[in-house]
């Protein structure tokens, strides 16, 4: 486990208690293979090295992740230890609540895990590249060596242009093929004491195909900040409004308005958060920005901190991207030594900004900004009630701005070249450029930075897509477009996108695509509100009926009703958009459903399968009573 020099800042929490936050909450690289034999000594060391010797409630998730990374699971004793340590403070937490948090996050395990754990990505693009074959192979391997190897599935890993992808003990392996799986088999058979995943397997590639202003920018560290510092702090809000910058995460909220709200809020502390929880299937541009343009991202965050008066910042990094941690940490450390982060930045009194990295643990919902804040506080990621908005009351109640990785890159660009200049490249009110992650049926998948007047058709030509049947723009929560709409430009007025662009040619059964997306939402629903918690289940089960040719017109009616209900009645964007895949296919190409309705007047039922759940229950109960 790596150690870092601890720099500490004082932090006054809600109860007006002075606490200290270590500079980098998360600095542990995963063990491959996982270690065994967790003892109290390990936990004490972890707490001393990374949590200032006192585990706080808000650090709980980071602590659990650190245990998970090293040992592969979080055992009963570790849970009890956490509960005991935190309960010495004012706000205690019971073991069961901690188990409830572990259950919320996909990558946290509370059952014993073998030393190697492979997560296979289940995005539709992985399946299109032959994931099923690898799944079968690894399942056989896991059956052969159940004590050494486990394989499970995970939602999109952000490697759609280089799939099928997997994570080995949390570290990415792109482009699975026969030789890679043989290499994994060898590791399982030979059980080496230490495995360097990055050296043994291919590593994720940037795969940038087309650059424009953001990706061409070679930022000299500090230059954007210096330019902003020639004006008073609030001065930059004018630039931002002149730039008419809108958030790049998908919702397209005006950045200037969000910042203004936060700047206007009266509070002793404010917070800037970079949303790097890139979970929308088919999106991987933030991974590339973090990997190759981190200076722009941090510079944008630092400018945000100065503008709104924040001194604390977080990068909320999705678990799947933890391989970037050492690099990101080094970038932060370097900027601290350059006085571009820390106290009195570049000599300006009161310009303090302390940046931390916080890891996610596998929950798509944490990309929603208020759920992300809950997760930052170490809780289950349930979206908050709004108002108040995060810019009014966010992390620990302090006014907080949450922006996407790409948005902060744009901020650095606005700072460097001016708001008017940024806005000069515009199409129908969408200013600047947009970075797209393109995958699926095309010759040149990868990263494309494009102006906002680019149409879907233009993009398809650029990437070498042929016989395109449909395109999913903006990920599963976005739109499924058919050729009739390919003339539309991808911008905020027409086809809005957070950066995911998946191409499907005529050989694809779009029903399977929609089913994959619907199952994704079912897996990722946080379970807070009725429409989404139950609705996602109803949608998934109804599509199962179609897949088995058991469905009828009534089921189409159920789908339609559920689409309407979830759209209007759900608590957050996840529920409101979870039925979009079904909606777009049902409205655009209803034949994909009609073809799967039952043609028999008598539905054939596999009685063995239908009664399997009851039988399992019976056996389980019988087992219990024999004990």
């Amino acid at each position: 486990m790596e150690k870092v020099n601890k720099r500490q800042i004082n932090w006054i929490d809600k109860n007006n208690k002075m606490t200290q936050i270590p500079t980098l909450l998360c600095m542990t690289s995963p063990s491959v293979p996982y270690e065994i034999g967790l003892t109290e000594k390990h936990l004490n060391e972890l707490e001393a090295d990374h949590f200032n010797g006192q585990l706080n409630r808000k650090d709980l998730l980071q602590f659990l992740i650190a245990i998970q990374q090293r040992f592969g699971w979080i055992c009963k004793d570790a849970i009890a230890w956490c509960s005991h340590r935190i309960s010495q403070l004012e706000t205690g937490i019971s073991e069961q609540e901690i188990r409830g948090i572990i259950d919320f996050y996909s990558f946290l395990e509370k059952e014993a895990c073998p030393p190697l754990h492979l997560h296979l990505s289940t995005n539709v693009t992985d399946y299109m590249l032959g994931q099923q074959d690898h799944q079968a192979y690894f399942e056989t391997l896991a059956k052969e060596y159940p004590k050494r190897f486990r394989v499970t599935n995970t939602s999109c890993t952000g490697l759609c242009d280089q799939g099928p992808a997997a994570l080995l003990n949390g570290l990415p392996i792109p482009a699975l093929n026969n030789s890679i799986r043989e290499a994994i088999r060898k590791l399982v058979e030979e059980q080496p004491a230490k495995i360097d995943v990055a050296a043994t397997f291919p590593t994720p590639q940037d795969n940038i195909q087309l650059k424009d202003q953001l990706l061409n920018r070679q930022l000299q560290s500090g230059n954007a900040i210096k330019r902003v510092m020639t004006n008073p702090a609030e001065g930059f809000l004018g630039e931002l409004n002149a730039a008419r910058l809108r958030g790049r995460g998908g919702a397209g909220f005006p950045t200037g308005f969000k910042w203004q709200t936060c700047a206007d809020a009266d509070a002793s502390q404010k917070v800037v958060v970079c949303n790097a929880d890139e979970g929308e299937p088919g999106t991987f541009k933030d991974r590339v920005l973090l990997h190759s343009h981190i200076q722009q991202v941090i510079e944008g965050m630092t400018i945000a901190a100065r503008t709104v008066g924040a001194s604390l910042g977080f990068i909320y990094l999705r678990f799947e991207y933890q391989y970037l941690l050492p690099m990101l940490t080094a970038a932060i450390e370097e900027r601290v030594t350059q006085n571009l982060l820390g106290d009195a930045i570049l000599g300006e009194e009161d310009f303090n900004f302390h940046l931390h990295i916080h890891l996610g643990a596998g929950a798509y919902i944490c990309g929603e900004e208020s759920a992300l804040l809950e997760s930052l506080e170490g809780k289950r990621g349930i979206p908050r009630i709004r108002p108040p908005f995060p810019a009014q009351a966010g992390y620990l109640g302090y006014p907080t701005i949450v922006n996407n990785v790409e948005t902060f890159c744009c901020v650095a660009e606005v700072a460097l070249t001016g708001g008017a200049n940024f806005a000069s490249r515009q199409c129908e009110g969408s200013t600047g450029t947009k970075i797209h992650s393109i995958s699926g049926d095309c010759e040149r998948p990868g990263i494309y930075e494009l102006p906002f007047d680019t149409t879907v058709e233009d993009i398809l030509k650029l990437v070498g897509a042929k016989n395109t049947q449909a395109v999913q723009v903006g990920g599963p929560s976005g739109k499924l477009l058919f050729p009739e709409l390919f003339h539309e430009p991808v911008n905020f007025s027409h086809v809005s996108s957070g950066g995911s662009f998946m191409v499907f040619d005529e050989s694809r059964d779009l029903f399977n695509v929609v089913k994959n997306f619907t199952d994704f939402f079912h897996h990722e629903s946080c379970g807070f509100c009725t429409p989404c918690r139950v609705g996602c289940g109803v949608l998934s089960e109804t599509l199962d009926k179609f897949a088995k040719h058991h469905a009828s017109d009534d089921d189409i009616q159920h789908l339609r009703e559920m689409m309407e209900l979830m759209d209007v009645a759900s608590h957050c964007g996840l529920g409101q958009t979870a039925a979009h895949p079904v909606r777009f296919l049902l409205e655009g190409k209803p034949d994909f459903f009609k073809n799967k309705e039952t043609t028999d007047s008598v539905v054939k039922i596999d009685i063995h399968e239908e009664t399997s759940a009851a039988r399992e229950l019976h056996l389980a109960n019988a087992g219990e009573s024999h004990e």
Partner: protein, 250 residues
């Protein structure tokens, strides 16, 4: 203060005054208007999860318990569209759990069942999930029957905000979200909950039940035997006292 200065919303065509900071639900309750709900209770903070309290606010569907009342807002809580959506939500809660009204101790006192009647729910519409959920009978006085739980979080909030115990919480994610006892064992007996706690009595269904006081109301004397929930919705079932001596046949 003259009438003109009191801010009002228009609820189902009638003006309803409100205080700054109040939700639509609070304003309606103050004025004696019942907006159907399950996860809301006036004694604890709002949650906004069941979505049964949806209303139309200036044409847009909102959860009235977490939507601030605003001057001049036009609110409809009983139009056909809202009632239809509400009925579907109730049906979804029925298919999600394992609800068996005929034998349930809370029948006639259950808000979920009463709303189903009020919305003229004749079937559950969707395929049942038939989940396999654990029942906790470890407590000497209380049963936690998760089959009937609708994850409304009322007992969680009541325990924290009224009983000052934090005996319960919701854990897990998605369809696996479940009510849990906050203690090492995760069992109700160790959670510190007691039968006189508000958490115990605030349950709108029958997930938290007393062990020694089954069927406390005689059929015919139960709260929703007397009047539909649309008429007595703002009376808390836990405060209802029917005549203990006579039933419909006596």
């Amino acid at each position: 203060m003259s009438d003109q200065t009191i801010p009002c919303i228009e609820l189902n065509g009638k003006p309803i005054p409100f205080q700054a900071g109040e939700s639509i639900m609070q304003a309606a309750t103050q004025a004696g208007v019942y907006i159907p709900h399950l996860c809301h209770h006036p004694d604890v903070s709002p949650h906004g999860s069941c979505r049964v309290c949806i209303v139309k606010v200036n044409g847009r569907v909102k959860a009235s318990c977490i939507t601030p009342a605003e001057e001049g807002a036009v609110v409809e809580s009983e139009c056909d569209e809202i009632r239809q959506l509400r009925k579907r939500l109730i049906q979804m809660l029925f298919v999600e759990g394992n609800h068996f009204c005929p034998s349930c101790e809370m029948s006639g006192q259950c808000q979920l069942q009463a709303l189903a009647y009020d919305l003229n729910m004749l079937d559950t519409h969707f395929d049942h999930f038939y989940p396999n959920r654990a029942i906790d009978c470890t407590h000497p006085d209380i049963i936690l029957d998760r089959d009937r739980c609708i994850n409304c979080d009322l007992c969680v909030r009541a325990s924290a905000q009224i009983d000052n115990k934090q005996a319960l919480s919701l854990g897990g994610r998605g369809q696996q979200t479940h009510l849990q006892a906050n203690c090492e064992s995760g069992l109700l007996k160790d959670s510190g909950i007691e039968s006189q706690d508000k958490a115990m009595h605030i349950c709108p269904v029958g997930a938290l039940l007393p062990k020694n006081n089954h069927y406390p109301q005689i059929t015919g004397e139960r709260i929703y035997d007397k009047a539909p929930i649309s008429e007595v919705g703002n009376v808390r079932p836990e405060n209802h006292q029917g005549d203990q001596t006579k039933g419909p046949i006596s």
